[in-house]
Amino acid sequence: MKPMIRKATQHVNQNEGLIFEKSSPGKAAWKLPPLDVPEIDTAKLLGTSERKDLGHMPEVSEIEIIRHFTRLSTWNYAIDLGMYPLGSCTMKYNPRVNEVVSRLEGLANGHPYQPEKISQGALHILKTLSECLIDITGMDAITLQPAAGAHGELTGLLMVRAYHESKGAPRKKILIPDSAHGTNPATAAMVGYAVENLKSNARGMVDVAALASQMNEDVAALMLTNPNTLGVFEQEIHKIADIMHAKGGLLYMDGANMNALVGKVRPGDFGVDLMHLNLHKTFSTPHGGGGPGSGPVAIKKMLEPFLPTPVVITKPDGTLGFEYDRPQSVGRVRAFYGNFGMFVRALAYTLANGPDGLRQTTEDAVLNANYIRKGLEGIYDLPYSTPTMHEVVFSDKVQAKKGVKTMDIAKRLIDYGFHPYTTAFPLIVPGALMIEPTESESVEEMDLFIEAMKSIAEEVEEDPQMVLAAPHTTRVSRLDETAAARKPVLRWKPTQ
């Protein structure tokens, strides 16, 4: 290994078994207060429904639990440890004040069914965040209910379907560019639509001529990510919107890449009819190892009757409340009102930024992506020279000649102290390296990243085998995913 790795180093790395392997009878980490009502006879109350045994549930002490999870945590990479340039995932800093305010007593312990008159604080948060997001997107109304981006897509397409049904027929299919995220086609299928692929042109954008020929009265909507998954802004967006609208179709925007637009341009102004946001991307709520997210859907006026129930309203007496009686609604998409805790965090982020901060965030995100692009251009192949917004996509074309693929470079990047970029996506770029630094990275951290990527490119030339065997510094080496899928072991068993 070369001596020039400036960021990563070896450190204490403890072994830790499964919690079940530490369990023994009599250990406990819980204590209940004394019962202040009469004792009960469980057999009498429950009869045959009484459970007698809790199987192999663990019995461990509090310090064991603290050590167990603390040790496990040290095996994770995280934004808090360094740059996490996963393209399309917007791994930005998660401000800690968000965590503090979301745990305030009245917000953390508010019951979803408590009377509206003692829920004004939560309703006020729903309303304020809604108003902010409506102006940021340039739309007319919003639902905060969807639990994640894909759930937002589902909610959005349900509204698309209800809209077309109200015009006479739901229509049959959804157009989806070949560069789209997999949730888009999966969602269309869940709403009962056929999926038709739309090819990208040589510049990585929607082929407008192809769209015009594929668009007809059977098409309910186009699901478009803008900027798209190449980090390229769809420059002919107005033509795209016109083509859709001329034949009565709707333009749905996947807002996964909204971090490139906030405060600079609004989807509602360039012809989008509805879109979802990912609060866990653009609005800094933590990814938490895979969730929770939050995927509000912002819409234009004509879709308002179809919003899921309930909707927050201002009542005649000036207080806030929920409205349930909405005959044209698509219905309810989840219990209660959405991932409220994420709304608190997203609003705290919005307040911490204000109009100036939100604009600068976008500018810095785009600036950073362009800085990375400039730093690595010529070393990694750039399949599309179209201007970059918030993320840049290279390919492994040069390194593949030595037998080193994007995933191998990604694994080697781990040794340099970085989380890999997104590999092998979008599908239109063979061997893609999709890099999104976000606004959170300083020029110093990005220089370390560029240096690491350059160094790996040299290693590929000099010692490809070493790169192919990476990572070399992690607790475990590459794991056998084929074996995991062939004979799935999905839980611990005592006989193991």
Binding site: L18, S23, A29, L35, D36, T42, L45, L46, L54, M57, P58, I65, T70, L72, N76, Y77, A78, I79, D80, L107, H111, P115, S119, G121, I125, T128, I136, G149, H181, G182, A186, G192, Q235, K264, H287, G289, G290, G291, P292, R334, A335, F336, L351, G354, P355, E363, N370, Y371, I414, H419, T474, V476, S477, L479, D480, E481, A485, P488, L490, W492
Partner: protein
């Protein structure tokens, strides 16, 4: 940096956006605030939100004690600020904890496999019903009217465009599923029977009897569990084919309805039809044990429109809360915790029964029960609010046939003092409801 890039100004970088669409004004959002102002603003909202009220509300969201180490541990940046564990070598912490979560869910539910989480109990139930359709090749679902009304609404939304007809099965005078009606409701096209246990009224269903009827007709049994703490003392629905659970009770704050933690558990034979992420055990190149996301060919990023679900982001951090909670209480504590819930609810319902009518007493219950009063429950609740107590959930909106009825819930957090105050509020001014005849009639799910 601009110089390094070769750009004249920041605006040059936004040149690809057609000029006519660029925003030339400030966003209409509140001005930038200092951290101290942000904290103050939310403190104000917190004060307006029922701070320091005791509650008798349950109905799918339960107020249980959250041991403090849950937040200490989930606040570690390595858990909080990590992405989905696709890069296994640097995600072993998240992956192993999910593997432990899957194991404990299996132990508690009696199922063979559990996934890494779903959005919540309501979407888990809807996805479980869709999964049953894939497994059986049938299309329709028989759903108990005693399943959480909002879960049924979500199911109706999902089913509407799936060509999945729903038939609602009524409950009897003990709040359990009407088995005779169930027999009549199942057809050759019924993919599954969906029940909740303990059901929306807190009553424990006769799962074995329901399973027999469903299985005899080739349908699967899907059981929704909204109150996870019940698993500490109530026999799990082992006869089910799929369990769709809400794990909020396991250390997740009420948080005005979310984020919560759905889970689907099932039998091994159905695992390839399961939605959501799964973690599996494997080995690395040196033979060391490690964990990876597995069976991804079910998922949207591989299968696109042919995936088992469109779910991508799940509720990982909330599943970690539940995982830590289950680890803390474990084999003995979970039973003791559940027993306290049972005792508090038993005492409270007994006291209520002296002044009002506690419905559905013919079958065992866990920690919720329905009280019918002469007086409108909203009026009783208004009196209780003056004591900083939130009373039971009035059921008129969901079950108008039950008249002046409300769903009350007691947990280990419900104090004797609050119980006595609530009983007094019901007794005072409350006319006897014992003459009111209950006649639950059959109604379709209203969307």
């Amino acid at each position: 940096m601009l110089k390094a890039i070769g750009a004249g100004s920041i605006d040059d970088l936004f040149a690809p956006i057609p000029a006519e669409y660029r925003l030339n004004r400030d966003l209409k959002v509140p001005r930038q605030m200092a951290e101290s102002e942000i904290v103050d603003w939310f403190r104000e909202r917190s004060r307006e939100n029922g701070e320091a009220y005791a509650t008798f509300l349950g109905a799918g969201a339960y107020y249980h004690y959250r041991p403090v180490i849950i937040d200490s541990l989930i606040s570690r940046g390595e858990f909080l600020t990590a992405y989905t564990p696709y890069q296994a070598e640097i995600s072993q912490g998240t992956l192993q904890s999910i593997f432990e979560f899957q194991t404990m869910i299996c132990e508690l539910t009696g199922m063979e496999v559990a996934n890494a989480s779903m959005y919540d109990g309501s979407t888990a139930a809807a996805e479980a019903a869709m999964m049953a359709c894939r497994v059986t090749g049938r299309n329709s679902v028989a759903v108990a009217r005693s399943v959480h009304p909002e879960y049924r609404e979500v199911l109706a939304t999902y089913a509407h465009h799936q060509g999945m007809p729903l038939v609602t099965v009524p409950f009897t005078e003990n709040a359990r599923l009407d088995l005779k009606q169930l027999e009549r409701s199942i057809t050759a096209d019924t993919a599954c029977v969906l029940i909740q246990s303990p059901n929306f009224f807190g009553t424990i269903e006769d799962v074995a009897a329901v399973a027999d009827i469903a299985h005899k007709r080739g349908a699967l049994l899907v059981v929704s569990i909204a109150e996870a703490v019940s698993l500490g003392i109530v026999e799990p629905p082992r006869q089910a084919d799929i369990i769709a659970m809400e794990a909020q009770s396991f250390g997740v704050p009420l948080g005005f309805g979310g984020p919560y933690c759905g889970v689907i558990a099932t039998r091994e034979q159905y695992v390839r039809q399961m939605p959501g992420r799964l973690v599996g055990q494997t080995t690395d190149r040196n033979g060391k044990r490690g964990f990876v996301l597995t069976l991804a060919t079910r998922e949207q990023h591989i299968r696109r429109e042919k995936a088992t679900s469109n779910i991508c982001t799940n509720q990982a951090l909330i599943a970690l809360m539940a995982n830590i909670f289950m680890t803390i209480y474990g084999k003995v504590g979970l039973r003791e915790l559940a027993k306290q819930n049972l005792a508090k609810a038993a005492y409270t319902s007994q006291e209520f029964d002296k002044h009002a009518k506690v419905l559905f007493s013919g079958a065992p219950r866990f920690n919720e029960f329905v009280v019918q009063t002469g007086e409108d429950p909203y009026a009783i609740n208004n009196r209780l609010l003056e004591h900083k107590i939130v009373g039971g959930l009035p059921l008129k909106k969901f079950y108008p046939e039950l008249g002046n009825a409300a769903l009350w819930c007691c947990t280990e957090m419900t104090t004797r003092a609050a119980i006595d105050t609530a009983v007094e509020a019901v007794a005072k001014n409350g006319r006897s409801a014992r003459s009111i005849k209950e006649q639950p009639d059959v109604q379709e799910v209203v969307r």
